[in-house]
């Protein structure tokens, strides 16, 4: 049963592997190009296991932003994992802490997406052991391939010609995360405010424009949502 679940997880994750290889190569290479040593690049890629945030943070850092802005940007790009944890947590209530720590270490977009779909769908009501097998089935192969790709990327490093423009990949990958989350007017307005402000404020020192634009856009979205909620509440009152 657990063996079958592990293999099912492994199989479900296979279609994501070409992307994992490309992203790993890029994460390793960008890290070296940003001035990290090969060892630092390999260490960061393999322990952080979050390519998008790594590339974004290091591009900021090598573009002149102080390290604290790079760390903040990394935290912001990875904030979605808080929501992943929130939605996965109830499905693994019985799991001991040491397993939750391991799950957290390997929690990436596709592992979360596949596992949540499985636990809430076909795998509803499975025992913890079987869920664990599925989760780590999706996670372990991906991690092994990620580590290999990052090491290869760090070795290739500056050998990848800039004319390939691979540094556009993180932005395109983030678009794939942003678009499904723009489901209503407040979110759309927040995204538009963010585009305009981030572009206008791009020349501010230390790349703080990113944080200001994102923060203001968030407040605008929240405010618009509040207005809609207030209106709905008034509408339902007799």
């Amino acid at each position: 049963m657990q063996r079958a679940a592990f293999l099912a997880g492994l199989r479900d994750n296979l279609p994501f592997m070409p992307g994992t290889i490309a992203f790993g190569l890029l994460a390793g290479a960008v890290s070296v190009q940003s001035g990290l040593t090969q060892f630092q690049a390999m260490f960061l890629s393999t322990i952080l296991f979050a390519g998008n945030s790594q590339i974004v943070a290091l591009q900021l850092f090598s573009g002149g932003a102080p390290w604290i802005i790079a760390v903040l940007a990394c935290g912001v790009v990875n904030l979605r994992h808080v929501m992943y944890g929130m939605s996965l947590g109830p499905h693994v209530r019985e799991a001991p802490t040491r397993w939750k720590l391991l799950m957290a270490f390997l929690m990436v977009d596709n592992v979360y997406g596949l596992s949540h779909a499985h636990f809430a769908g076909d795998g509803r009501g499975l025992d913890w052991g079987t869920k664990r097998a599925y989760y780590f089935g999706t996670a372990l192969l991906g991690y092994a391939i990620w580590v290999a790709a990052c090491i290869a990327g760090a070795v290739l490093g500056t050998g990848i010609p800039p004319s390939w423009q691979l540094d556009a990949i993180p932005s395109l990958g983030m678009i794939a995360i942003i678009v499904p989350n723009v489901k209503d007017c407040p979110a759309l307005l927040a995204a538009l405010v963010s585009v305009v402000l981030a572009t206008l404020l791009n020349d501010l020192p230390l790349r703080v424009g990113v944080l200001i634009a994102g923060g203001v856009a968030m407040l605008v979205g929240l405010a618009l949502e509040q207005v809609a909620l207030d209106r709905a509440e008034r509408g339902t009152r007799p």
């Binding site: 279609p15 994501f16 992307g19 001035g35 990290l36 260490f43 960061l44 943070a57 850092f61 390290w67 790079a70 990394c74 935290g75 912001v76 790009v77 990875n78 904030l79 994992h81 929501m83 992943y84 944890g85 929130m86 996965l88 947590g89 109830p90 693994v92 939750k100 957290a104 270490f105 004319s163 423009q165 691979l166 556009a168 990949i169 993180p170 932005s171 395109l172 990958g173 983030m174 678009i175 794939a176 942003i178 678009v179 989350n181 979110a187 927040a190 995204a191 963010s194 585009v195 981030a198 572009t199 791009n202 424009g209 990113v210 994102g214 923060g215 856009a217 968030m218 979205g221 929240l222």
Partner: protein, 108 residues
């Protein structure tokens, strides 16, 4: 040295974000304002990080149709909307960049 501090903090922050609600989801309920704010993280904050990298070329805003990355971003947004697939989105975007760049190179 400062690079190691940055590396350690990036790892610590990211791990905390991945772990905290996995452990606490069954014990605490987050306040409403925090839940509502989290919903806007992709639209507001990720947009602020991703979009300047596509609009700004060589230090200035480039909204012309010759900006391969801007076109790629528009194509990627469309593909993301239709397919909700990260790989297709990145693939379509990169293909756009390469094709537009090649066309421009062949014309000049």
């Amino acid at each position: 040295m400062i690079v190691w501090v940055m590396i350690a903090l990036m790892i610590a922050v990211t791990f905390a974000e991945r772990y905290v609600m996995l452990e606490l989801a069954n014990r605490v309920t987050l306040p409403m304002w925090l839940l509502r704010s989290l919903r806007f993280v992709p639209a507001a904050l990720l947009t602020a990080i991703a979009v300047p990298n596509l609009i700004i070329r060589g230090g200035s805003v480039d909204l012309s149709p010759l900006n391969a990355r801007l076109l790629a971003g528009i194509v990627a947004a469309f593909v993301a909307w239709r397919t909700r697939n990260v790989i297709y989105t990145i693939g379509a975007g990169m293909l756009t960049i390469w094709v537009v760049t090649l066309l421009q190179a062949s014309q000049s």
